[in-house]
Symmetry: C2
Subunit: 209 residues, 2 copies
């Protein structure tokens, strides 16, 4: 049995953050497919494991963790990789994890979800999310123009969190040729040993009709 | 001169999280009014201080911090109050800070903003945000039914973060009589020494036309 089990599915960028971290840390892990598109995260059994009714959930022995940012924090400590060397750096990483959750992933994930996985999404809602997506990408574009990675010259869990949805730009109407800094930064992440595209790293792609 | 200066304005629940923390920690602090409604957070001077172009920003000496969750983390350590006693508790607090940023504050703050501070908000966008707000409040209602505070029987920065927008329920079409657990939990927070309503704790209320 693997050391870690990750509850996930291929289309979840939040689950990908945890899966990518496990892979670049060369962890001994196995995915456990969650049938989100048929309601599994809302089932009673799943909610008992995570009241927030979301993937990812990471399990090791009799312990489990949810929220991608918490899982990244835990794994950074466990593997002593992609973490911080002092409290100041820890807080700078936390700052970008929070920005990701509040402003980047929150809008991009919802925008992409409506575009790709719902029928007849409301155009006014799409437009609202499109503008919020652009605004958040503008902040990211500026930041990754300052240094190779989000917090200085080495990759941390801030990078792994922020890139969670960004390997599917065409699924949220984005072309990285419009964001030169983000494009270079994503290429740096792709060159990390252990990097694998989300649709290949987690089960459930392509979606069955 | 006060030990701490907080860049804030009365209508910001995110700034309130930091202001409330300073107040319940009995910090020596002073607010610095940010004229958000006339674009100050988008000014070059402000963006130089915080590239994310948002309040709150906390300043102490020649150092500054942004993102409410980071400020709460820093103040918990500085005052040794409302924090954690071990890494497990730290991560459980972080889990709820992330939920707040991703699912609760993000939707409630935007819903309220469109309702209160914009003209002719788009009904379809309001409906989208209304449903997201209800869903997040449902998760919170369940959690604060389990124990007196978010993480056990004592208040932490998770409570201070999650309550940031919740003392204005009428501004986002909510009545706490529909959420008995949240109502009791908010009353417990209001009874903490140093609690003050956001419109009294920070400058800029009421808005000038």
């Amino acid at each position: 049995m693997a050391d870690f089990t990750l509850y996930c599915f291929a289309q979840s960028g939040n689950a990908y953050k945890a899966a990518l971290m496990l892979n670049v840390c060369r962890a001994d892990w196995t995915p456990r497919f969650v049938d989100f598109f048929h309601g599994e995260t809302n089932s009673e059994a799943f909610r008992e494991m995570n009241a927030m009714a979301e993937v990812p959930v990471l399990v090791r022995g009799d312990k489990s963790w949810s929220q991608s940012g918490v899982i990244l924090d835990y794994l950074a400590e466990y593997f002593q990789k992609f973490g911080w060397s002092n409290d100041e750096e820890r807080r700078e990483i936390l700052r970008w994890l929070l920005f990701d959750n509040h402003k980047l992933t929150s809008y991009i994930a919802t925008f992409r979800y409506l575009l790709q996985f719902t029928k007849n999404p409301e155009p006014k809602v799409l437009e609202f999310l499109r503008q919020r997506t652009k605004s958040a990408l503008g902040v990211l574009e500026q930041q990754v123009g300052k240094s190779d990675y989000i917090v200085g010259d080495h990759p941390t869990i801030a990078d792994i969190s922020l890139c969670g949805y960004l390997f599917w730009p065409e699924e949220f109407e984005t072309n990285w040729s419009d964001y030169a800094n983000i494009q270079s930064w994503l290429n740096r992440i792709k060159s990390l040993p252990g990097w694998v595209h989300p649709y290949e790293l987690m089960p459930g792609y392509p979606l069955e009709e």
